[in-house]
């Protein structure tokens, strides 16, 4: 609960008019619904991520916001006004393109100033804004280079500066870091957040990389087949996925199907074929069907040689399953285990390597007890 509170982000007026309202938007390419009756509100000052597998329609949605595609149905409201008739070059929205789309014949300076010249800024104003942008994205000294003479990371910065220079109401970022290597991507994610916070701008990022979405975004919209599966904070998305699809898409998860029965106060008992009876906390929304699945994240599953030492200390450790370790993978910070249960099902568990010395590691063929609390489980309808 405490963590839940600390997770609260500084956000604009949640009650007032959202900055951007996407209202039942449909976009078809031939017979395929790229975006299918999708509705979403985005608040001013928010860093929002659209996350989904490739082909889920997230880029199409972004391109509709930029004006490169027009919705077949539905409306897109910016500050309460429908922007459907507004041409791309007149929208107060800018986009950072996936492969940056820098103008190869123009210098860094001319690339960044391109959008400023179009709104008839004076030379002095342009120079002022240019200097501001160059220092914001740390491009000092490279102003006269051509895009060909820049590294991938530098190009990414020019693209960011160019799209920010006009101070758009909304900045759209289409897989902005996909072309960078892992280390550079991670540091650039932090820089993006820093820039967004400093300018107080609204960012919408499209990505297929869930870690990236979790890192940068205040809220994430998970998309599949043109629909939003869930819109939530990164924590909610991971700990309280709304559907089995989301649970499996975000991170690793163990899923057991079973029959739900009422248990003692605030609990449900699920009898599963693969993992026996699992006691779970009753979800806040009532379950409509009997057949449900239980989702448990691997790091919530603890292993021990004999089971928790004392029931008094682990009053909630009421779910225990015995099995044999069949695989262990040491990954540095964590070690992941695969445990074969007596039913034949495989359970995944990951344990943080809190001690440097190999003291509590398990080895293959060892019998272990896997245990977790009712709170560790999420009950999902099929």
């Amino acid at each position: 609960m405490v963590e839940e509170l600390s997770q609260a982000k500084p956000q604009g007026d949640a009650e007032g008019i959202p900055l951007l309202r996407i209202d039942a938007v449909v976009k078809k390419f031939g017979a395929v619904h790229a975006v299918d009756r999708l509705s979403l509100d985005i608040r001013a000052g928010e860093f929002f991520a659209l996350l989904g597998p490739s082909g889920c329609g997230k880029t199409t949605l972004l391109r509709m916001l930029a004006g490169f595609e027009t919705p077949d149905q539905g409306r897109i409201l910016l500050d309460g006004k429908d922007i459907a008739p507004v041409l791309p070059h007149q929208r107060p929205v800018n986009m950072m393109f996936q492969n940056y789309a820098l103008f190869p014949h123009l210098s860094v300076r001319e690339n960044i100033a391109f959008g400023l010249k179009r709104i008839g800024m004076s030379r002095a104003e342009i120079n002022h804004r240019l200097a501001e942008m160059v220092s914001l994205v740390k491009l000092d000294g490279l102003e006269n280079r051509k895009p060909d003479q820049l590294s991938g990371g530098q190009k990414q910065r020019v693209a960011l500066a160019r799209s920010l220079a006009r101070r758009p109401r909304v900045l759209l970022l289409d897989e902005p870091l996909a072309a960078l290597d892992k280390k550079l991507r991670e540091s650039t994610q932090l820089e993006l957040m820093e820039v967004q916070r400093r300018l107080g701008m609204t960012f919408i990022i499209v990505t297929h990389d869930q870690e990236e979405a979790m890192t940068v975004a205040d809220r994430i919209g998970v998309m599949d087949a043109g629909r939003l599966e869930q819109v939530a904070t990164p924590r909610q998305l991971y700990e309280s996925p709304r559907s089995r699809w989301v649970a499996e898409f975000i991170g690793d998860v163990n899923i057991f199907e079973g029959q739900a029965q009422s248990g003692e106060a605030g609990r449900l008992t699920i009898s599963t074929r693969e993992a026996g009876t699992i006691v779970v906390t009753r979800p806040s929304e009532p379950i409509s069907k009997n057949m449900v699945c239980v989702a448990i994240r691997p790091e919530k599953i603890k292993l021990s040689r004999r089971g928790p030492a004392s029931d008094a200390l682990n009053i909630n450790a009421m779910n225990r399953i015995e099995g044999t370790v069949i695989e262990m993978n040491y990954l540095g910070g964590v070690t992941s285990y695969k445990i074969k249960l007596d039913s034949g099902a495989v359970l995944r568990s990951s344990m943080t390597n809190t001690a440097r010395i190999e003291i509590d590691a398990y080895h293959a063929n060892q019998r272990v007890v896997a245990w977790f609390t009712p709170d560790d489980c999420v009950v999902l309808e099929q």
Partner: protein, 303 residues
Amino acid sequence: MSARFTFTRPARLAAIAPYLWMLLFFLVPFGFVLKISLSQTAIAQPPYVPVFDLTQGLSAINGLAELSLDNFRLLVSDNLYVLSYLRSLAVAAVSTSILLVIGYPLAYAMARLPRRWQALAMMLVIIPFWTSFLIRIYAWINILQHDGVLNKFLLVLHLVSAPVVWLSTDSAMYLGIVYSYLPFMILPLYASLAKMDPALLEAAEDLGASRTRAFWLVTFPLSLPGIAAGTLLCFIPIVGEFVIPDLLAGSNSLMIGQTLWLEFFTNKDWPVASAAAVALLLLLVVPLALYDRLQRRRLEQAR
């Protein structure tokens, strides 16, 4: 930055091949032409006084004194040559401009077709090459002549009351040149337009440029190398064009190619014809050298 390549033996041979080709089929013949241009006309077979004859061995050096620049002096002093040079340049400039104005929109349209249609459009541009160039020019004569297809068509539609003179006019010549050289303009333009990332135009629009402005600010400057290539590819051969003006244009003013032909075959004045050819080559080397410098500067910038 200087890069040194060390080639293995077969690779070195391959690298030499183009130079050998140039030596055998361009420099050596050019040497002959240059030699003839420096000699005097004679009633003989071949019709010039042999100078600097290498078969005479070392004594050929003495022949150096016999070389004369008289033919080149004649080129400058007789305005027949100067005029035909100027006419050639003017015809080439006008034709190339028309080609650019027609070729650019065509190449642009081709580059914007869906991928699968682009190959077909390319075929349509290239297909005329399957028929002999000469036959296609004769076909134009057929179309343009007094009782040709064009006049018949116009008469039937009552657009004209009497047949119009098309053939043996400058218009017919320009038509023939533009028709023949269009693929050479379209293909380099298409190549430079097709490889352009469409996201660049979206970026320009996104940053507040209307479609028209985006064209002038992004597409056009990025297609300049294609324009330069297409222009040179058309301009240079048009300057030396002989067949089209000879068959389609009137005979009142000549292009340098026609003058050359006259000197060579009618006047049998090989030395003057050779001098004219050498001068033409030098005249054309200048724009080529400029283009080369432009390219090199671009490459250096890209580094």
